[in-house]
């Protein structure tokens, strides 16, 4: 348009289009989502998580906690009742928590049947972190008994059982599950409850850290990611468990001088390469036949690939998914390398593609929100210091404040003789 008045402020075709408004984290919607999850029933579809209901409790409480509103928007009586519920999941001996009340045999529980109502590593981890988020000081946990139970789950190769069950005697060594998730959970529980050496009331059996590290290292795959066991395909969820476990065991960063014990990732730079390679934009949300649970391989990205809306996938040639925005960026954060990803692009993926109109995040674009993805989406944004979200601690997947509270507990510190 040649005749346009150059002093006019009206947009014309000769001017560049206005920049896309930057999406924001809709805090009010997320608050509403979490309060609804906390105060009303979760839909029937969550029945498949019934045996790990404490993980749902963790996502709901932690979700509101990392956006900084748990203490403001819930009543002290409510939090006390939730704390009581969490402690009701602790087994009577005080050595660990069950995954949820579904197996609680209450007054029928006896030494003959208690193997069907066992404490589990996930149940114990999720209850402890949730208790901490709610302001509890863990005084009702028997630290020595819990730590010895954790140590009792370790096998000679360094891996951990998820729990002791009544069907265990029917297993053989090679049918046992031995993936890095359970080492991570054991390492996290140990980090929280053990604290400095000598702070326990009696000598308490510890886990074999060297063997645990060796097992984690052995899960490295041919492409330098890590899988569920030696030889398994690399998977970002397992990579997170490996890196976070090493971090909580104090074995992630080798010192400058060589040491005689196993430490670190076998090939840290190569694993960093694998991790940053996870960042990718969805390639098929505009397709007519897009289905959120489609199993067909997504079409490959264009070449060169777009720079906007890049989330993270969990394996090569898979779709990006909200939770990997945490599993991957969390790993890089622990390796002090989170600046190597395109945080703005990840932010676009989360806030423009998977954030839901009713609050929370879905697994993939157009998916309804669920508590896992809603929590992990927020924690991922917290790593890159999103406004409205607290500082977070990637190793424990919770607020930095919670980690600092644990570090400040007097009972974790070595008693010095007066």
């Amino acid at each position: 348009m040649a005749d346009i008045n150059p002093s006019s402020t009206t947009l014309t075709s000769s001017e560049p289009p206005p920049p896309k408004p930057r999406a924001t984290f809709e805090k009010q919607r997320n608050i509403k989502y979490w309060l609804r999850c906390l105060r009303t029933l979760l839909p029937t579809e969550y029945t498949s998580n019934d045996l790990n209901r404490t993980s749902l409790a963790f996502f709901c409480v932690n979700g509101l906690h990392v956006i900084g509103e748990l203490g403001n928007l819930t009543k002290p009586e409510e939090r006390e009742e939730w704390i009581s519920w969490l402690y009701s999941c602790q087994i009577p001996s005080g050595a660990g928590f069950r995954g949820g009340p579904a197996t609680d045999l209450s007054d029928k529980r006896s030494p003959d049947n208690e193997m069907w109502d066992p404490p589990t590593l996930p149940g114990t981890f999720f209850c402890i972190i949730t208790l901490l988020s709610l302001g509890d000081d863990l005084a009702r946990i028997n630290r020595e008994a819990t730590l010895e139970w954790v140590a009792s789950l370790q096998r000679s190769d360094g891996s951990f059982a998820e729990m002791r069950t009544g069907a265990e005697e029917l297993e053989k060594d090679h049918t046992l599950t031995r993936d890095p998730r359970f080492i991570y959970l054991a390492a996290a529980i140990r980090w929280i409850l053990r604290g400095e050496e000598g702070s326990l009331s009696r000598e308490t059996k510890d886990i074999d850290v060297d063997q645990a590290v060796r097992y984690l290292q052995s899960c490295e795959a041919h492409d330098y990611g890590f899988g569920s066991r030696p030889g398994a395909e690399s998977h970002a969820g397992h990579v997170f468990c490996v890196i976070a476990a090493l971090s909580l065991l104090g074995r992630l960063h080798p010192p400058k001088t060589p040491v005689s014990y196993p430490i670190g990732l076998p090939h840290p730079e190569k694993t960093i390469h694998w991790l940053v390679s996870r960042q990718q934009a969805p390639t098929d949300i505009e397709h007519e036949d897009f289905k959120i649970d489609s199993h067909i391989s997504p079409p490959p990205p264009s070449f060169p690939a777009q720079t906007s809306n890049n989330g993270f996938n969990g394996r090569d040639n898979k779709r990006p998914d909200t939770c990997y925005s945490f599993w991957v960026v969390g790993c890089l954060d622990l390796l002090k390398k989170s600046h190597l990803v395109d945080a703005e692009s990840n932010r676009e993926y989360l806030l423009e593609n998977t954030a839901h109109i009713i609050g929370g995040f879905g697994k993939v674009p157009k998916a309804p929100p669920d508590v896992l993805h809603s929590c992990l989406g927020a924690v991922s944004l917290g790593i890159s210091r999103e406004e409205g979200i607290n500082r977070v601690d990637s190793a424990l997947c919770t607020s930095l404040q919670t980690r600092e509270r644990v570090e400040g507990f007097e009972w974790r510190k070595k008693k010095v003789a007066a």
Binding site: K108, N113, T175, H222, G231, E233, Q279, H295, N317
Partner: protein, 339 residues
């Protein structure tokens, strides 16, 4: 007594309160306290069945009716690890007393496996189902038909992690590192050359056997040719590039031997002809190892500015690392490739 078999009957609701089979059991309801967290809107059927399960477990009852109860619950919550364990223990106890296959119970391990497969197809993303299958096949000590069963699952989702884990266990347990297994991965890759699970499995079969000596003669050549062909079809496929690099490493062949191959996909002096960011990435490493920092920098800059800008921070980080190659790890010996 009701049959444990067909799917139609399985859908039939169990009537715990009126069926005389359950008359001696006092259900044990769930105690959720005053204000629980994460309360789920259970279906009434699930609530009732779980109350009977708790009562049955409290009594360590492993009688045949447990098969009905546990299949009922699994149909509503297939991720119920306790109920799977309880079912397996019951099956084993019936098997040991040699009553599993008698007329009264009329069940068999083969029927159990068929039922398990029908559940697996309904709940694809489930670990417990495959662990249960693993325990049964281990007990029967017979892998017949099991590769076909996993094949059915791959037809639904060729990247199903749980099924691949089971397949790896099967291969290891029954030593199936054979032609059939190799052909299965080849056929999956034919269907979808970007199937990373199939590439990983191929590596596991061909080169990943633990505690084994170096690869047999010709294997490294055969496998690198396979990867190169796949790359020619899809130069942006990371799975094939990762496989190629891993095969060469295992065969003790230097990365530098890939230089002409990579340059054919990424001629850094003719950026318009570049077809693969992965080729550029490997070339930067090859140039760096050869001490050609100018070319190495050029490759990384092309990645950062044009061919993989979402990772520009990473490629610039790599540029800063040039010339500081760590010594090769002890598990990756490098020997000169023979012509």
């Amino acid at each position: 007594m009701a049959s444990y078999s067909s799917e139609e009957e399985e859908e039939e609701e169990l009537d715990y309160t009126n069926d005389p089979v359950w008359a001696d059991v006092t259900p044990l309801p769930q105690d959720d306290g005053h204000n629980p967290l994460a309360q789920i809107a259970y279906s009434p059927e699930y609530t009732i069945a779980m109350s009977y399960l708790r009562a049955i477990m409290a009594a360590n009852d492993h009688s045949p009716r447990v098969l009905n109860l546990t299949s009922d619950i699994i149909g509503m919550n297939a991720a119920h690890y306790t109920v799977w364990g309880y079912r397996f223990k019951t099956l084993m106890s019936l098997d040991r007393s040699q009553t599993l296959e008698d007329e009264k119970i009329g069940w068999s391990w083969r029927q159990e496996l068929e039922w398990v497969q029908s559940i697996a197809k309904r709940y694809e993303k489930n670990y417990q189902i495959w662990h249960h299958r693993q325990l049964i096949i281990d007990h029967l000590d017979d892998p017949t038909g099991e590769r076909a069963v996993t094949g059915e699952m791959f037809a639904l989702d060729s990247k199903n992690y749980h099924v691949w884990t089971y397949r790896q266990w099967l291969v290891q347990r029954f030593q199936l590192f054979d032609e059939e297994e190799l052909a299965a991965t080849a056929s999956l890759l034919e269907e979808d050359v970007r199937n990373n699970s199939a590439w990983n499995h191929r590596y596991f079969i061909v080169l990943g056997r633990l505690g084994e000596a170096g690869p047999e003669e010709g294997v490294v050549e055969r496998e690198s040719e396979l990867a190169k062909e796949a790359i020619s079809k899809a130069p942006q496929n990371p799975s094939a590039w990762n496989y190629l690099k891993a095969v060469l490493r295992k065969g003790g062949i230097e990365l530098a031997t890939l230089k002409p191959f990579c340059e054919s996909f990424a001629p850094i002096l003719s950026p318009d002809e570049i077809k693969s960011s992965h080729a550029l990435d490997i070339l930067s490493e090859i140039y760096d190892e050869a001490g050609d920092s100018v070319k190495a920098e050029k490759a990384l800059e092309l990645l950062a500015s044009k061919f993989d800008p979402v990772r520009k921070n990473y490629w610039r980080y790599r540029r800063r690392l040039l010339g500081s190659k760590p010594t090769p790890a002890s598990d990756t010996p490098t020997i000169q490739a023979t012509a």
